[in-house]
Symmetry: C2
Subunit: 285 residues, 2 copies
């Protein structure tokens, strides 16, 4: 069995061209390399080099050995990385959220159920969530569309409806319902981290002037003290926590309502079964 370090020294020599240079690169001495290469040849019972009195170079077998050595050295390196990634994955749960409300609802639940684990949450458009589940970036995903592929376990876990929030003084306040396209040309307050909702509103009202706010507090302040329309959610309205002095007007667009779906890999169904159960009971609404 040939040790990785020998293969590594061989590839270093191939990269450098001379033993001296390779020795420097490897932070070792030239004689040490000479001996290693001889040891390698001895253990293989193969000649890998053409030697003249003060020059050494690879022969055909040696060149092939370098090709193979590069592979196994790289594999050894990757093995360590994969193992560390696996180990980390045992201690962390990464979740992709397509919208803020599911995260608000689920975060305390998950912290409770998987105590001691590191929880990492992403919020973004959920186009690639299936791929992220497959490649292990996420262990859980909340999407606004169901996954039917049987590599996944997927269940509906709630729904949410968007409303337009305006002061009673606003011209929009007189309509019984509003189309998102009515916002074109208007300035609209919007939180920046709202996942797939961002796509919805930008697609339906592309010509609105969106005032993007990173912080909730800034958003609330502006919403409370200005006349700009903004969005509210059935989740907050249902809980009576609306923006002071504003009314919520239904949106006519079908896209303003969505169902949410919780998904994991089929192979991990059992690991997350309690979470799925709880979400079925409580649900997002």
């Amino acid at each position: 069995m040939i040790e990785i370090s020998l293969w590594e020294q061989l590839t270093a020599f191939a990269d450098c061209g001379t033993l001296s240079e390779a020795a420097e690169k490897l932070h070792t001495s030239q004689p040490a390399l000479t001996r290693s290469m001889k040891r390698l040849e001895a253990e293989l019972s193969l000649s890998l080099f053409k030697r003249s009195k003060n020059h050494i170079s690879l022969n055909a077998t040696g060149r092939m050995a370098v090709n193979l050595a590069r592979q196994i050295v790289e594999e050894d390196r990757e093995l360590v990385l994969r193992l560390k990634a696996y180990d980390r994955s045992l201690r962390t749960i990464s979740i992709g959220y397509c919208a803020p409300v599911p995260q608000m609802v689920m975060t305390p639940l998950i912290n409770n159920l998987f105590e001691g684990m590191t929880i990492s949450a992403d919020m973004k458009e959920d186009d690639d969530f299936p791929a992220r589940l497959l490649d292990g970036t996420y262990q859980l995903a909340v999407l606004h569309y169901p996954l039917t592929d049987d590599r996944f376990f997927c269940r509906k876990c709630g729904s949410e409806t968007l409303y337009l929030s305006v002061p009673p003084s606003s011209p929009l306040a007189f309509y019984p319902e509003i189309h998102l396209s009515d916002l074109n040309g208007l300035s609209v307050l919007l939180l920046s981290r709202i996942g797939f909702w961002m796509n919805v509103v930008k697609e339906r009202a592309p010509k609105a002037n969106y005032l993007l706010l990173v912080q909730d507090s800034s958003f609330m302040e502006l919403a409370s003290h200005s006349g700009y329309p903004c969005f509210n959610s059935s989740y907050f309205i249902r809980r009576g926590s609306t923006i002071p002095g504003r009314i919520n007007i239904p949106l006519a667009d079908a896209e303003s309502h969505t169902d949410y779906y919780l998904a994991c890999l089929s192979s991990e169904t059992r690991r997350f079964s309690t979470l799925f159960d709880q979400m079925k009971k409580t649900g997002i609404s």
Copy 2:
């Protein structure tokens, strides 16, 4: 960079279940293994084992590590084998012959052209010769059918016709030509190593009683001193070296005549170009 020996010791432990048993299997001591496994964990900065005071077993990360370790240990082992095979392939030319005459003609040529190399020759039915060229078992093949696939370089290199050889006293001697099927029911002398010809005669005269002889000398002795029919070849007849006291009768079957084709991998065309040239000039006939 983790050395292969450490991975190897890990897999040995996984196979054996206890360090003591693994130590025995590896012809080393138990404390040595304890230290190796601790060193492995230290170099990875990962915990791979659940330890109680007098028991040690793999944790989840450890089990994953074993899976990966098995792979790389196996790859290291295979690397050595592949390298040795490659080295040997540089010093040897393996040739598949579908019949004895091409071998007789080409052996001196090849020994001459590739002096110092080990020449290894196979003789057998040439069904799988293309596959053998592709997988590297053969560098050259002589077939009785052409290869049109452009992964191969293939040229006609001669032909041969089979005759029936009988004493003048034989009842068969009166026919101007004979069908192989006429041999059904008769005893026929046959050399055992005749490649694809064996299939030809056994297919055309399946009910003949073939007296298989391994050695040329035995065959010649019996052919000279018995009345059993046997086969002769245009190659020998053309050179006047027929069996004493026998006549050669043409065979009516189309299969009694064949063309020979010399083939190598397209990628090796240049390496063997001189041989192809010489065979084009001299040819088998």
